[in-house]
């Protein structure tokens, strides 16, 4: 069982669910993003998703795309990302997941990429433009390195596809919460909750389910967990805080810290 899956089990025992914040490595600079990661850890993040920026992030909304662009403009590279992870590993042991596009993986060489992940302490990889049909190479590398390849499932995924995906998915299943791209939204859509209900029977006892895309408010987290989610992924909302206060490191750190604390609270079943 992978380190990520163990994490969910640990949390389950404490009557908690996972809060999974996302940030882009290198946004706005490598050092600053390192500080943000530290804040996420200190504020209660259970797992952290780290983006390696790609120039053409088709599955992401404007917030994360802008974040990627800032990061690239400031010199971020995959090499640097691996180095940063090594530094992160200096202060935390929680599961870390890379999110990046397939061309970044492909250019490094799929095997080498997973190997480097495993070396520096990455526990899973999410590749939003790599559907299961094209994933043979990555799956093989994942198996060899014990770095989980995490798959995405959406409201539109048919049951037959779902079972195909569940056959190979590791770490957790990433449920995309609505028809759309990442970005903070006011209200969770019905469809998200329906989707959760739809896939729960297939995953129960097999693999945890985390929901992402558009989660920004504590209520969202509460709703999701009530509907059976094992984890909540929060990306754009955090990056929004960063983007609005780029010049004020302290403010960013403070606000993100508070925000994550509030969100994390919602994953603890005291209500």
């Amino acid at each position: 069982m992978s380190k990520i899956e163990q994490k969910f089990i640990e949390l389950e025992k404490k009557n908690e669910k996972a809060l999974i914040p996302f940030i882009t490595l290198g946004d706005p600079s490598p050092e600053f993003s390192l500080k943000i990661v530290r804040t996420l850890v200190d504020s209660g993040a259970d797992i952290i998703e780290l983006g390696i920026p790609f120039s053409d992030p088709i599955a992401d909304g404007p917030t994360i795309q802008a974040s990627s662009m800032r990061s690239l403009a400031n010199g971020m590279t995959p090499d640097l990302a691996f180095n940063l992870v090594k530094e992160i590993r200096g202060f935390t042991n929680i599961p870390l997941v890379f999110l990046t596009y397939y061309n970044i993986v492909f250019q490094r060489g799929v095997n080498r990429f997973f190997h480097d992940c495993s070396e520096c302490g990455i526990d899973g990889v999410i590749i939003p433009d790599l559907p299961v049909e094209e994933a043979a190479l990555a799956l093989e590398a994942s198996r060899k390195t014990n770095v989980d390849l995490i798959f995405i499932v959406t409201p539109a995924t048919s049951e037959s596809r779902l079972s195909k995906i569940l056959q190979v998915a590791r770490g957790f299943v990433y449920v995309v919460s609505l028809f759309g791209v990442t970005g903070a939204r006011k209200k969770l859509s019905e469809i998200t909750l329906e989707t959760l209900k739809k896939i729960k029977p297939y995953t129960k006892g097999k693999i945890p389910v985390s929901v992402g895309f558009g989660i920004s408010k504590p209520e969202h987290v509460k709703e999701l967990i009530l509907a059976g989610a094992d984890g909540a992924i929060v990306g754009s909302a955090i990056i929004d805080i960063l983007a609005k206060n780029l010049k004020h490191e302290k403010v960013v750190i403070e606000k993100i810290g508070k925000y994550v604390q509030i969100m994390k609270k919602m994953t603890i079943r005291h209500w």
């Binding site: 088709i58 970044i104 492909f106």
Partner: protein, 403 residues
């Protein structure tokens, strides 16, 4: 070249692969839509009714068949028989409409009432706006804000036809960002929206669909040259941006090994300067916009901006089938510079009275370069993928004519 003798029917395979290229590297949320599109395409495209409707559209609306024109004076200059396939005469001024009409028709069959498309200079956006208006579909065109600013003419034409032009402010604010944005819109509106991709690029089944709708070019060339000359051409040239006019031109000839196929990419200011759009000629393997193909990228896989005087060739990727054809040795890939393209425009204007678009001017430029290799009776066909009317503003900047 023996391996091309049994080409047809093999590509793409059921996963949309052309050899190792192509595929469906798309976000999970698009997969069902791509599957639906694939299925609907196969069902419709093989039906007689659809074919009849398509033929009717191509004929009475688009103005097909386009002539295969014997260039009398250019032939004298080149010392061989030069023919132009006149896609410049298609409604809208370029081959792009062959595809947009086909896909719009398909969209109506899929009961979608909204079309979206990306556009760079506006040619594909214009062709989509035409098809949208013709079928009464809501049409929205994504266009990088930079392109909106420098292509006001085309923006106006699209709006005139009732399409909405949505400026994209992300990324470089050019074509690839427009594609990104269109994909995002599609993800959010998948139920009633068809994403009308403009070239043989993108995830499967797009490279297949666009090829099929553009195949009419090569089919007509074959019939026409047999009527005129009683034999197949010795060489066919077409420019390659995404590769749709070239794929449409070449496909019908792939198994005819006696006909050399040459694709011409944009060499921009020269390969060495890095300012070019020659992904197939000078790029490397990678994944862009849903397909494994050749792209312009840095060592880490970040996509690089392409450069070309011709907007239609200014794209850092290329259709996956072209890569396959190149790798199996069936397609020769070369490039022509901005400067050579401009010279070719001048030549073509003054010799034949035809202002070619900047894109096919690259093909004419290469034809001029290799003409000495051909004899009086050799037959050279060049696909004139579009008219230069759209390029006058750019030409004005680069070709000063005396008062």
């Amino acid at each position: 070249m023996k391996n091309t003798l049994r080409y047809y029917g093999k590509y793409p395979d059921e996963y949309g692969h052309y050899g190792e290229f192509g595929g469906k590297f798309a976000p999970e949320i698009l997969i069902p839509a791509l599957d639906e599109l694939e299925q609907s395409f196969h069902e419709n495209y093989s039906s007689e009714k659809f074919q009849a409707e398509l033929i009717n559209l191509y004929g009475d609306y688009a103005g097909r068949p386009t002539p295969l024109y014997f260039c009398e004076r250019l032939s004298e200059k080149f010392g061989c028989k030069v023919y132009f396939k006149r896609e410049d005469l298609v409604h809208g001024g370029a081959h792009k409409l062959n595809n947009t009409l086909g896909q719009a028709l398909l969209a109506t069959k899929m009961k979608k009432d909204r079309l979206i498309a990306e556009t760079g200079a506006g040619q594909h956006g214009f062709a989509t706006a035409i098809a949208g208006a013709k079928f009464g579909l809501t049409t929205e065109i994504f266009m990088g804000h930079k392109d909106v600013m420098r292509q006001k003419h085309n923006v106006y034409r699209m709006k005139l036809l009732g399409a909405k032009v949505i400026p994209v402010y992300s990324g470089d604010q050019t074509l690839k960002d427009a594609i990104n944005e269109a994909l995002r819109d599609w993800i959010s509106n998948i139920h009633h929206t068809h994403y009308l991709i403009g070239s043989v690029v993108g995830p499967h089944p797009y490279p297949l669909i666009v090829r099929e709708f553009q195949r009419v070019i090569g089919k007509e060339i074959k019939e026409q040259i047999m009527t005129k000359e009683g034999r197949l051409p010795d060489v066919i040239l077409a420019c390659i941006g995404g590769g749709s006019n070239a794929m449409g031109t070449f496909y019908e000839f792939i198994e005819n090994d006696s006909t050399a196929l040459i694709g011409i990419e944009a060499e921009g200011e020269g390969i060495a300067t890095g300012k070019h759009g020659a992904s197939l000629f000078a790029g490397t393997k990678g994944i862009l916009h849903g397909a494994l193909t050749y792209i312009l990228q840095d060592e880490y896989g970040q996509i690089q901006e392409s450069h070309s005087i011709s907007a239609g060739l200014d794209y850092p990727g290329v259709g996956p089938e072209h890569v396959l054809l190149k790798e199996i040795g069936r397609l020769k890939v070369v490039a022509a510079t901005d400067k050579e393209a401009l010279e070719a425009i001048d030549l073509c204007c003054k010799t034949e009275g035809i202002i070619p678009a900047l894109e096919p001017a690259h093909a004419i430029a290469h034809a001029a370069k290799i003409s000495a290799e051909y004899d009086k009776d050799d037959i050279m066909v060049i696909t004139l993928s579009g008219s230069g009317s759209k390029d006058l503003d750019i030409l004005k900047q680069h070709m000063r004519l005396e008062e």
